[in-house]
């Protein structure tokens, strides 16, 4: 094993292949995800809620980004949003008010609860499953490769090379394979 230098003397580096390392890595990653997911409270309410609503004129634009000429609806909705905020309602109540008045499609994202939650849960679940699946596949392949290396002298580890002498076709093929596998 090559010398690990200054960093190598630490427990962290000594155990970097061990379960503790991976557990801590996963914990840190999860913590980062939670922190990122919980952010978003600093934006002004009007700005934030205005970006959670669609314009009802059919332009398929976010309410505060709808600026097409003479839009009949966005100025009215913006006034309504100001009025709703002035009543002291919570964000959910304001959005619910708009959903009740204009229908569910006025919300720019599915946030009414119930089946709408599926829209958010499925991508996260798929992403987590894919991550776990990829790690599992890599781990299984790695284990199988090591097992094969132990069983078969010709596989991935115990290739016999002559010390010197003329090049045989087998050596040339081996060189070509190594070149292919190590170039970009």
């Amino acid at each position: 094993m090559p010398s690990l230098g200054k960093f190598g003397r630490g427990r962290f580096w000594r155990n970097w292949r061990g379960p503790i390392f991976w557990a801590r890595t996963v914990q840190t990653a999860l913590l980062c995800v939670v922190v990122i997911a919980m952010l978003g409270a600093g934006q002004s309410r009007f700005d934030r809620l205005g970006h959670e609503l669609m314009c009802s004129c059919g332009c398929n634009q976010i309410l505060l980004e709808c600026n097409h000429v003479s839009c009949p609806d966005s100025p009215v909705m913006i006034r309504e949003l100001h009025a709703q905020l002035a009543t002291g309602k919570s964000d959910a109540e304001v959005l619910q008010w708009f959903a009740t008045k204009y229908g569910a499609t006025i919300l720019a994202a599915p946030i009414r609860g119930g089946f709408d939650n599926v829209a958010w849960i499925v991508p996260i679940a798929v992403f987590l499953l894919a991550t776990i699946g990829t790690f599992t596949v890599v781990w299984l392949w790695k284990r199988r490769a090591h097992a094969l290396a132990g069983e078969s002298p010709g596989y991935a580890g115990v290739l016999e090379f002559p010390a010197a002498g003329p090049t045989t076709p087998q050596e040339a093929a081996l060189r070509e394979r190594i070149r292919r596998e190590t170039e970009y």
Binding site: M54, H68, V69, T105, P123, V138, W139, A156, I178
Partner: protein, 707 residues
């Protein structure tokens, strides 16, 4: 009634193309079966005769290209000669239309765009069939599969969406004209680019399916299709970003990407195509991921069809309403047939796709490609899920919901940042396994760059915890800039390390050594340049977190301040052109007290008497690397008569377009053949047998500069 027979000629050409394509499909298929050992045994007909029959099918395919060329020409001719007896021309052109846009009428409606699709497919097929000697049998399979796809589109044109249908009675004096939103220079280039991308994925798909059907030995089909795939990917990239630039310049809402279903439809095959371009290297180099690659290219092709189905069938709401029509069932049928063919071929031939090697280490380029693929497919799934969820919601709840930018931004931005991270680390890892020493050597500088960038950015005010800022956007931007610094450092480090080796060998200066390095391994360094372009694009996208805008009535002499800019209204003016009336606002722009330029945002009103009577905005831009000053003339306040001006300050937007140019340059470099075989590589070969990599893989790989 029309005074020339072009529409009839066009219809005839389409019918001829249908017959020729059907011949190519059927006879080509029969010849392939006859040439097989089983076919030869059963029929007893000598192979030479089957070969001759196959050759007639190939020539029929070439002839179908000529027939479709003539059909496309006939439609363009009808547009240029204002033949309004043709219903399509009457709906999408008029006499006053600029000639360039008359040409664009070919793809501005349903029937024309399907004709363009069929024409481009036949053009790709033409190139493939002309170059058949590269591998006669594999090309014959691919040609027959392409003929199957082409048959569907030509049949659609003949039966369901005929572009040459004649209006009953007398032809109208003038046409309805082209949708004003499409009357923009980029619209003459953007759709063909996008279609070249969409249609082009049919070629690697056909080769992959053909190779699987014939149990093609080895990976040669990948070598054959690599250039096809890269060119196609480049066209799709250009098409997508030209569309984004068009939206930015014409729609006047200050953004470039609205997560509209049509935009999503173009993004999905791009994501899977990008995944394929990466994972196919694992098959090429190590004989791995064969099942995965086959399904990636199948999925990419099927997604191009699915995207077309979603946006043209009216299944999902889109701002691209001009593209909707009742041709959905045709696409449903085709996609089911295509999927069934892929699935059954895979099931029957899957034993042919056994991997030659297994992954040996978690810290290797193979595993980075695996994660890269996972991330790209996760992003693709999110886009597909978001696009389809309104349909699913209606089915389950009985009411549609909107899945707009808040959903995609929340879910896809973290995925994009992870992808950016992998863009940086992937190329630094060696094939098979990477040693700890190598990791430290390759990653120390990028890590330092990231830490320094993060500190500098936070010191200069980019702090997610600041009151009043959008914390989430600011944090994402901070992470994006930090990762971008790391990735750019890693890429530059790779170039410098390689250039140093070349300089030592040749004695050239650093610049000449870098050029020589690139020319010696165009694929590798072209790939780095593409990655650099992607990072530049990410920087531009991250700048969106700091967009500012102001809207106000601006009578002459009034002013508005936004960021470093001071904008003074110098009045308004108007003009009248054959197709539209236009009103300009004249805005003098000052930066830090110095006059910069006059901006003239426009509002056009297209004339009455057409189906497309409507107004459109033409944005006026002052673009710098730092930020775009984006001005929109929203019209006059009906109560006060004052012009309403909206001004956006969009930081770093130009970086997105610059990034696309870099990506295109990188793709061209990666496509170019290597100048000479690198002596460095020869030295590696010579040194490898002395130190078997399998015994000490990390040690050997650490010695190889480009491993």
């Amino acid at each position: 009634m029309q005074d020339h027979p072009m529409p009839e000629f066009g219809s005839f050409c389409l019918l001829l193309a249908l017959i020729l394509t059907a011949y190519n499909l059927l006879i080509g298929g029969i010849a392939l079966w006859g040439e097989s050992p089983r076919g030869l045994r059963i029929t007893g007909i000598p192979q030479k005769k089957w070969n001759r029959l196959g050759e007639t099918a190939r020539r029929a395919g070439i002839a179908s290209f000529i027939a479709l060329c003539c059909a496309a020409f006939a439609l363009v001719w009808a547009a240029f000669t204002d033949d309004f007896s043709v219903a399509y021309i009457a709906s999408h052109s008029n006499r006053a239309l600029n000639p360039a846009y008359k040409f664009a009428a070919l793809w501005s409606g349903q029937e024309g765009s399907l004709l363009l699709w069929a024409f481009l497919l036949s053009a790709y097929g033409f190139v493939l069939r002309v170059r058949h000697r590269i591998d006669v049998r594999l090309t014959a399979f691919a040609s027959t599969i392409l003929a199957g796809i082409q048959f569907f589109f030509v049949l659609l044109l003949v039966v369901a969406a005929p572009p040459f249908s004649i209006l009953p009675g007398a032809a109208p004096a003038d046409g309805a004209g082209l949708n004003p939103l499409l009357q923009y220079p980029e619209m003459v280039i953007h759709p063909p680019m996008l279609y070249l991308g969409y249609v082009g994925f049919s070629v690697p798909f056909a080769f992959a399916l053909g190779a699987l059907m014939m149990r093609y030995p080895g990976e040669k089909w990948i070598h054959i299709t690599r250039r096809w795939t890269m060119v196609t990917w480049m066209f799709l990239t250009c098409g997508i970003f030209m569309g984004a630039h068009w939206a930015y310049s014409v729609l006047g809402w200050g953004g470039y990407w609205g997560w509209d279903p049509v935009e999503n439809a173009s993004l999905m095959p791009w994501l899977t195509g990008t995944a394929f371009l990466h994972s196919v290297m694992m098959q090429e180099k190590r004989g791995m991921m064969k099942n995965w690659n086959v399904w990636l290219i199948f999925s990419t092709f099927l997604l191009t069809i699915l995207g077309t189905l979603l946006t043209r069938s009216g299944a999902v709401a889109s701002v691209h309403a001009f593209a909707q029509s009742p041709i959905g069932p045709w696409f449903y049928t085709f996609i089911v047939i295509a999927f069934a063919v892929c699935l059954f071929t895979f099931l029957f031939q899957r034993d042919h796709l056994k991997s030659e090697n297994k992954l040996e280490s978690l810290v290797s380029r193979e595993s980075s490609f695996l994660f890269n693929n996972m991330i790209l497919l996760a992003a693709c799934f999110v886009v597909l899920w978001g696009t389809l969820f309104p349909v699913l919601s209606q089915y389950v709840q009985g009411s549609k919901v909107t899945v707009g930018p808040p959903f995609y931004n929340r879910v896809n931005i973290p995925i994009g940042l992870f992808l950016l991270f992998l863009t940086g680390i992937g190329p630094l890892l060696a094939w098979r396994s990477t040693s700890l020493r190598s990791i430290r050597r390759n990653f120390i500088l990028p890590t330092v760059a990231m830490v320094v960038t993060a500190i500098v950015l936070m010191v200069s005010g980019l702090r997610p915890w600041n009151d009043g800022d959008d914390m989430q956007s600011t944090l994402f931007s901070l992470v994006a800039f930090t990762l971008a610094a790391g990735v750019i450092t890693a890429i530059v480090e790779e170039f410098l390390r390689g250039a140093h080796v070349v300089r030592t060998q040749t004695g050239k200066n650093l610049l000449a050594a870098t050029v020589l390095l690139i020319r010696r391994n165009t694929r590798r360094y072209g790939g780095y340049i593409i990655h650099f372009g992607i990072v530049v694009m990410f920087i531009g996208i991250a700048g969106g977190a700091f967009n500012q805008s102001r809207e106000m009535e601006m009578p002459t002499g009034s002013s508005l301040d936004l960021g470093p800019y001071h904008i003074v209204s110098a009045g308004k003016t108007e003009d009248s052109l054959p197709e539209y009336d236009t009103h300009y606002a004249r805005l003098d722009v000052y930066r830090n007290g110095k006059y910069v330029m006059e901006l003239s945002p426009e509002k056009r009103t297209y004339f009455a008497g057409t189906d497309h009577e409507q107004s459109s905005t033409i944005v006026a831009l002052h673009s710098t690397a730092q930020a775009d000053l984006y001005t929109v003339y929203e019209g006059e306040n009906p109560d006060t008569g004052m012009p309403i001006i909206k001004v956006f300050l969009n930081p770093l937007i130009a970086w997105i377009w610059i990034g696309v140019v870099i990506v295109v340059i990188g793709t061209f470099i990666a496509l170019a053949p290597n100048l000479v075989r690198a002596p460095v590589a020869r030295r590696q070969e010579d040194s490898v047998p002395v130190a078997p990599p399998s015994l000490h893989p990390p040690a050997v790989l650490a010695k190889v500069p480009h491993a």
